[in-house]
């Protein structure tokens, strides 16, 4: 295989297809953190919703019930996190990490108890989400370029992929062009100011956590119901942390965060294609080293281009009323 064999088209499509897991989670994190609550517990929520949505989808043989159940669980966890961060005024980092660890254990235990397959759910089979075939796909399928764009790049994905991409402008709109967004940002920046202006910081933050719970659940559902077709222990494999990274990378702004997610997807796809390829000059790079590509690139980009990320000022600080 040679360098020319890199399939750019396939890289792009793969980027698009891999983005939703990170995208949903990163947008979830965005809501939580812009409201001032650190959400290091994305990983746990992804895992819990992945398990529950797979389990319910399998049991009911209906992916939509699975997704709904996943939402419910993820929301419950997010609200628990909210209760700790907002009402209890506990340590938000600890809460997030605790949730990640607890979910990693609990999903296995419960899955094992119900399905007896080593913490795996049975194959969903028909209970997975189908791919959307755009109208006219058959007609253009053989047209060069256009056919590829229509059937593979734009078409041929599940609805969740479209939802994930549509989410970015939506989140942007909510954040910057609605009352809720204004209040949310104020709570994350200076909750005392929001409070003095008559905004209920608690309610705003709870709402943000609720939204975070809902969005995060799609990440898990996508992983289980779309990408894999079953649940497997620890299947989130660090996606929550990567989403968090993308968000920090994107300076807590939806569009840049989106770029961060795409960057991980893109370099992940490039890395897949680079494995075993003879590159000019360097020759064949060992697989383990090629796997570094997305991470090394992130560090370089962070160090070189986007120095100084500025977190919402009040992030992680419990809001205590006082002047």
């Amino acid at each position: 295989m040679t360098f020319e064999d890199l399939h750019l088209g396939s890289i792009v499509v793969s980027t698009v297809r891999n983005a939703p897991v990170l995208l949903f989670a990163a947008m979830a994190g965005l809501f939580a953190e812009r409201s001032g609550v650190i959400d290091i517990g994305l990983e746990g929520k992804i895992l819990a919703s992945a398990f529950v949505s797979a389990a319910v989808a399998f049991t009911t043989q209906n992916p939509w019930y699975g997704i709904l159940a996943g939402i419910a669980v993820s929301v419950v966890i997010a609200l628990l996190q909210g209760a700790i961060a907002i009402t209890q005024k506990g340590n938000q980092l600890v809460a997030g990490i605790a949730i990640n660890i607890a979910m990693s254990g609990l999903t296995f235990v419960v899955a094992q108890y119900f399905f007896q397959q080593g913490g795996r759910t049975p194959d969903l089979g028909e209970a997975r989400l189908g791919e959307v075939v755009l109208p006219g796909s058959a007609a253009v399928a053989d047209v060069p370029v256009l056919g590829w764009i229509w059937t593979q790049l734009l078409g041929g994905h599940t609805v969740l992929v479209y939802a994930a991409f549509a989410l970015v402008p939506l989140v942007h709109w909510v954040l910057y062009h609605t009352r809720f967004g204004l209040r949310l940002r104020a709570c994350g920046e200076n909750p005392h100011a929001a409070d003095a202006a008559g905004v209920s910081v608690e309610r705003t933050r709870y709402l943000a956590m609720l939204i975070a719970g809902v969005l995060c659940s799609f990440s898990g559902a996508y992983l289980a119901i779309v990408q894999s077709g079953f649940f497997l222990r620890d299947m989130s494999a660090g996606a929550g942390y990567l989403a968090l990274t993308a968000m920090v990378f994107g300076n807590w702004r939806p569009f840049y965060t989106f770029l961060g997610c795409l960057m991980f997807g893109f370099f992940g796809a490039v890395q897949i294609q680079l494995e075993g390829v003879d590159l000019p000059v360097v020759g064949r790079i060992p697989g383990a080293l090629i796997q570094m590509v997305p991470y090394v690139v992130t560090v370089i980009v962070l160090a070189g281009l986007m120095a100084k990320s500025v977190a919402p000022k009040a992030i992680g600080v419990p809001f205590v009323k006082s002047r």
Partner: protein
């Protein structure tokens, strides 16, 4: 006529602290009512109860004769109460417009209400002659303008009762004046204003009635016209306040600091300091007067090693100060070791670590000087020294283990000043030493600074308070636009002339 606000037997305690005890007084509709008292007297607590932040342990609040339960700021806002907090309640990275709209957006979609709000805001600005750009971002604005934004917020919400907690603490004389103009306009419209301030002159200038608090209780309520500053001060502190503190005759020694052609440009190339030259001698206090934001802060930062000049030099005791090339990291320690002490302007940001105890804050910057055996802290010695310091400088409460963040601003300031004084410096840089501090404490701080001067220390004082400048300085430098626009000895003190120089009229 019904009073606008009536407090009836309000009590509030925090743990063992009785912040308010049986506080009762009334505020007449359409009046400007002053509220004065020492730091920690309970003024802010009382206002916070009125604004719904705290619930009183006992007592009632009556608005227009009706008992009201105010459980949250939302309810207070609904009842037409507005509050301008001492620490601005603004979201730094948002525009003025967004800050004003926050909480009263008008609907879910901002876009459909923004234009309307902006028009209304511009109209208010015009009517009240407030010069504020609605689309400017808060962190680009000076404190004075931020203050105006706070006022704007209240006008926008058409608050009928306006609480201002030490609004003038960070304002210049001109800014204060224009604030008072607005308050008078308010009053004409029949609105009620409660004004907290430590500056008794302001009380005399603008209020109709005044309530004095001490240790959580009301100790006096008078009509302003029938009282005097001296009487108020006496009521507040429980003893007369000395206006003219004794000082040794002016006999400056050898030059301690010679600043030569100091320049500073920010990274966009804008000049912040330009060609600063002056000399400071042992045993004199030189005050830099000027509207804040004209380079005084930067000058102090450079002289204390916190910031590097882009050009120029400064000799300290005949030797040039060792400015580094690129990075001021660590430089303040070098300067301090030379004998330069610094009371920073923004004490909460630079001067103290809020989450350290009072004791730990008494050696911030001098941490390397207090090593005992093994190079470790000798806590016994530190504690002894700290106890002495708290006593000598009358820090209240004199509890060394309290987080300093829990001390009132005035007492925090006493700790900072004590720390710097006890370092026995040769040069003392003092920025806004009495901001937000009550008159009793001001007296104490001024006494300390004068004693230092009399002991032969050179003091460079930055203050926007002309009263303070007059009380302390031997010589006055006036700064404007990053330049020194004039110099005059204290016996030629002249408010009008200084005002002109501060406005930029060049050396005459």
């Amino acid at each position: 006529m019904q009073p606008a606000v009536e407090f009836r037997g309000i009590s509030k305690h925090f743990g063992a602290v009785k912040a308010n005890t049986d506080v009762s007084f009334t505020v007449a509709k359409g009046a400007i009512h002053g509220l004065v008292g020492e730091n920690g007297a309970g003024k802010s607590t009382l206002m916070s109860i009125l604004y719904g932040y705290y619930q009183a342990d006992g007592g009632d609040i009556l608005l227009d004769g009706q008992v009201r339960q105010i459980r949250s700021s939302q309810e207070a806002i609904r009842l037409g109460i507005g509050m301008v907090h001492q620490h601005f309640m603004l979201v730094d990275n948002m525009t003025v417009l967004d800050n004003v709209m926050l909480g009263t957006e008008g609907g879910f979609r901002l876009a459909s209400h923004r234009a309307e709000a902006e028009a209304k805001l511009r109209e208010i600005c015009a009517r009240y002659r407030l010069d504020v750009d609605p689309l400017a971002t808060i962190h680009d604005l000076s404190v004075g303008v931020q203050q105006r934004v706070e006022i704007l917020k209240q006008i926008y919400r058409s608050a009928n009762i306006l609480i201002l907690d030490e609004p003038t603490a960070v304002l210049t004389a001109q800014e204060t004046e224009s604030l008072f103009e607005i308050l008078k306009l308010f009053k004409e419209q029949g609105k009620t204003i409660i004004l907290i301030t430590h500056k008794l002159q302001e009380i005399m200038d603008i209020t109709d009635t005044v309530t004095v608090m001490r240790a959580g209780r009301v100790v006096g309520a008078v009509e302003t016209a029938r009282t005097s500053k001296e009487e108020l001060a006496n009521m507040m502190v429980g003893r007369p306040i000395e206006n003219n503190l004794p000082r040794a005759p002016y006999s400056p020694g050898k030059p301690v600091l010679e600043v030569k052609g100091l320049q500073l440009k920010d990274n966009t190339g804008v000049s912040l300091l330009d060609d600063i030259d002056f000399t400071l001698r042992a045993g004199e206090i030189v005050a830099i007067a000027g509207v804040s934001g004209n380079g005084q802060s930067e000058l102090m930062e450079i002289l204390s090693g916190m910031r590097l000049p882009t050009a120029g030099s400064a000799d300290f005791e005949g030797k040039p100060l060792p400015f580094k090339r690129h990075d001021p990291d660590g430089l303040p320690l070098v300067f301090r070791d030379l004998g330069i002490a610094h009371v920073p302007e923004d004490r909460l940001r630079d001067g103290v670590v809020k989450n350290f105890s009072v004791m730990q804050n008494t050696f911030l910057g001098y941490q390397d000087h207090i090593k005992g055996r093994w190079g470790l802290f000798d806590f016994k010695r530190i504690a002894e020294r700290c106890a002495g310091l708290l006593k000598e400088f009358d820090v209240r409460p004199p509890n060394p283990d309290l987080r300093i963040g829990l001390l009132s601003g005035g007492n925090q300031q006493k700790v900072v000043i004590a720390r710097e004084v006890l370092a026995k410096p040769k040069l003392m840089l003092v920025g806004q030493p009495t901001r937000g501090v009550d008159i009793g404490t001001i007296e104490a701080i001024h006494t300390q600074l004068l004693a230092l001067r009399d002991a032969g220390v050179a003091i460079l004082l930055v203050s926007v308070e002309l009263e303070e400048v007059r009380a302390l300085a031997d010589r006055i430098l006036v700064m404007c636009g990053g330049r020194i626009t004039g110099e005059l000895p204290i016996n030629e003190f002249d408010t009008t002339r200084i005002g002109l120089l501060m406005g930029g009229t060049h050396k005459s």
